[in-house]
Amino acid sequence: MSYCKQEGKDQIIFVTKEDHEAPSNAELVEDDPNDPYEDHGLILPNGDINWNCPCLGGMASGPCGQQFKDAFSCFHNSKEEVKGSECIDFFRGMQECMQKYPELYPQEDDNESAPSGEAEAEAVLPADSTSSDSVSASVPTSEEVASGTESPATS
């Protein structure tokens, strides 16, 4: 049973689980999906990629940022059956760049993330990498992004 008390200007309410079971009747204002002020996820309303999305971490801003943008744009716009299959050159370019900065882009085989020094989301390469130096991570393909650096999303 919930109860309520007042300490000066501060009101305190204790509630049980049952008290909160009934759905809330509080009214929230409907969000405008095209609100120009709002932060957007990975994909902007006009379909472009939001390079400034926190979910990308520093990928688009680091030394290999341009290569990353090229590769990921190609992948994003790809209409091939195997998405991104025509983007191999871009991904190779990105990989080459990343190999020059092992501290920033650790060369790990498994899908574990978290390079020491970064706690960013990373990008999963399509299954074309033959080298053992593939950089793996998860590409957020939907609005629901696992924060931080966890399990890869399927592409």
Binding site: S2, Y3, E7, G8, K9, D10, Q11, I12, I13, F14, V15, T16, K17, E18, H20, P23, S24, N25, A26, E27, L28, V29, D31, P36, Y37, E38, D39, G41, L42, W51, N52, P54, C55, L56, G57, G58, A60, S61, G62, P63, G65, Q66, Y101, E103, L104, A114, S116, G117, E118, A119, E120, A121, E143, E144, V145, A146, S147, G148, T149, E150
Partner: protein, 623 residues
């Protein structure tokens, strides 16, 4: 420059004396100063402040002016000469040490050293930056399309934002610190919980989810060398460490650094943060006390305090806000192992007294005490002296504390020195540079982070000193510097952990003087900060807000909770802060991963008749 204020004071008070304002209290100090300055031969007794300015008053003023100017001039000349000698020595030692270090880039010979040493103002530059080896501008950039003043969180967030949005952007960060950009929250939290004895060197911390990371946002390989900035193919971010921007020429779009270098810019961000405030009683207490006082803000302060905690027997923290309480808890946890006494004192009635409503502040204070801290509430420091090897703190109510070391955590003074040369407005209510809703001070100057007093469309003009705000405002400034023209809209959050069992996240205006409504359930073992970060997989709480997509809500699975008992245990809940019946602030007390809902409620800015109904949206009983 310590003499200038005194001179001004002289001038001000003596001006007050002549304006005919007969107020004893205002002019008492003025009269004292005048009396010590010289014998008032020409003063007509008892009419000085209100008499017509005749021969007597004017002459006295003239003598005071001349005397003060001579004093000031003499002192300045002396300090310059002494300073010059010191700086020259520093330069020479630095050059010698540098020649033995391998440089990544060939550095130009130090031909300009004798010249710069002779200048009135010069500072030794960081040896690890090969570009800055010589102060010669032939090596370093003289122009930066994007110039970021300050190398903290806001600046780094802006750099990242600019690089993401402007392909090939060349961004130059100028910082007076010797370190590359790093995050501050672990300095008073996670770094203290580390088991690694080399933590003061590595500055790495293990997050609750087991993952380790450095406090530096990026390792040095992320940045390009300043010498390469203008030429590198795809642009990049370069950091000039150990330099302070001393002068800003807004008309000419250029700045002057402490070593005399001039850099012009197209767009500039001021993210100078602030410096810790000190108590006047400590400043006046003399060198022996100042030597044993830490003003905590930077990496070097963390290292120094860590050393102190191992070597000394008693530390006293003055201040009961975020920093003071976090440090107290961090040190308190070590107190048993180290045989260290940890005392915390502050004028409020409880920890976080200016943030949390009284009942919660009291509850928090009990928790802090359980962490091993001796908490003295309603403690106002009267004076501090060094006596018999101990720092003695006397409180106004008579209590005395004898300690080995003092940490002053009494607030932050925003760094607005550039406002003068730049002709920028300073806010008189909140301090900091006054900027508009888009963080602009001028058409090509933005300000972000602790130093920015900005207009928040929803909550009004404010200045926020939190990490997430630095990230959010830095990012926004970077966006606007690349043409976005967006106002501050995404509300930043903040968080604090007081030990592993008590943590909260908050958003908006969280001021204990506002009326509040708190809705609580009883906490289970699962409702702790530790559990929260384990579940969401994040290490530093802010990441779950800024690194995730806005709008995603991670609501966990329901877990059986025992029904709360009738006693007052504020285990977990939601507290709403109201201004004119609208929710302007929310504290999520031991309830995590609900920030998007809280943000939505503040954004709506609606009057809700029943806040219990609003509280239901948070599912506080669930995981």
């Amino acid at each position: 420059m310590a003499d200038l204020p005194t001179t001004t004071t002289y001038l001000e008070t003596s001006q007050q004396d002549d304006t005919g304002v007969p107020s004893p209290t205002i002019n008492t100090r003025g009269r004292f100063l005048l009396r010590h300055e010289r014998t008032p031969q020409f003063v007509q007794p008892a009419h000085m402040s209100s008499g017509p300015s005749g021969g007597g008053g004017e002459n006295t003023l003239y003598f005071v002016l001349v005397g003060a100017t001579c004093l000031a001039g003499g002192a300045y000349a002396y300090s310059t000469l002494v300073g010059d000698r010191e700086r020259y020595q520093q330069r020479i030692t630095e050059i010698e040490s540098r020649s033995s270090k391998p440089a990544a880039e060939p550095s130009t010979p130090a031909k300009t050293q004798p010249e710069t040493a002779a200048q009135a103002v010069s500072e030794p530059t960081e040896a690890s930056e090969p570009a800055s080896a010589a102060a010669s501008t032939a090596v370093e950039p003289t122009h930066a399309p994007y110039l970021l003043i300050g190398g903290g969180t806001a600046s780094f967030a802006a750099a990242r934002s600019i690089r993401a949005r402007d392909p090939g952007a060349r961004v130059l960060i100028v910082t007076e610190e010797d370190d590359l950009p790093y995050m501050r929250p672990p300095l008073s939290k996670e770094l203290w919980f580390s088991d690694d004895p080399t933590v003061t060197e590595t500055l790495r911390f293990k997050q609750w989810n087991g993952k380790e990371r450095s406090i530096y946002f990026q390792p040095s390989s992320f940045y390009v060398s300043p010498t390469e900035l203008e030429s590198v193919e795809n642009g990049g971010v370069a950091v000039l460490t150990g330099r302070k921007v001393m002068h800003m020429d807004v008309r000419g779009n250029k700045v002057k650094l402490s070593d005399g270098t001039e850099i012009s810019y197209d767009k500039c961000l001021i993210a100078t943060g602030g410096i810790p405030r000190n108590l006047q009683v400590i400043e006046r207490a003399g060198d022996e006390v100042m030597k044993r006082t830490t003003l905590f803000r930077k990496i070097e302060d963390f290292k120094a305090l860590e050393k102190v905690s191992r070597e000394l027997k008693s530390i006293t923290i003055i201040g009961g806000g975020f920093l003071g309480s976090e440090l107290a808890c961090a040190l308190g946890r070590r107190s048993a192992d180290l045989g260290l006494e940890v005392v915390q004192m502050f004028p409020e009635k409880g920890n976080m007294g200016k943030v949390l409503p009284e009942y919660l502040s009291n509850w928090t204070t009990d928790k802090v005490k359980k962490e091993g801290v001796k908490v003295l509430t309603e403690a106002v420091v009267k004076n501090v002296t060094y006596k018999e090897g101990k720092v003695e703190i006397k409180l106004k109510d008579g209590r005395v504390v004898k300690t080995d070391h003092v940490v002053a955590a009494v607030g932050l003074e925003p760094s607005v020195e550039l406002a003068k040369s730049a002709g920028l407005e300073i806010d008189s209510d909140f301090g900091g540079f006054r900027v508009n809703a888009e963080l602009q001070a001028r058409s090509n100057i933005w300000v972000a982070g602790d130093a920015a007093c900005f207009y928040d469309i929803k909550l009004g003009r404010r200045r926020v000193e939190h990490h997430d705000h630095a990230v959010v405002s830095g990012r926004l400034a970077g966006e606007n510097m690349t043409g976005a023209r967006k106002p501050y809209w995404h509300q930043s959050m903040f968080w604090s952990d007081l030990g592993p069992d008590v943590g909260y996240e908050a958003i908006g205006i969280v001021d204990s003087s506002l009326p509040t409504v708190g809705v609580f359930a009883k906490a289970t073992a699962k409702d702790t900060p530790k559990a929260a970060t384990e579940q969401s997989g994040t290490g530093i709480r802010s990441e779950s807000e800024t690194e995730a997509v806005a709008g995603s809500v991670a609501v966990g699975k329901a877990a059986p909770t025992p029904p709360p008992q009738q006693k007052e245990d504020y285990g977990k809940g939601v507290i709403f802060y109201l201004r004119d019946k609208v929710v302007v602030g929310i504290v999520l007390w031991n309830v995590f991963n609900r920030m998007p809902i809280a943000r939505k409620i503040i954004k709506d800015g609606e009057e809700h008749a029943d806040l219990n109904e609003v509280a239901k949206l948070f599912n506080i009983h669930e995981e």
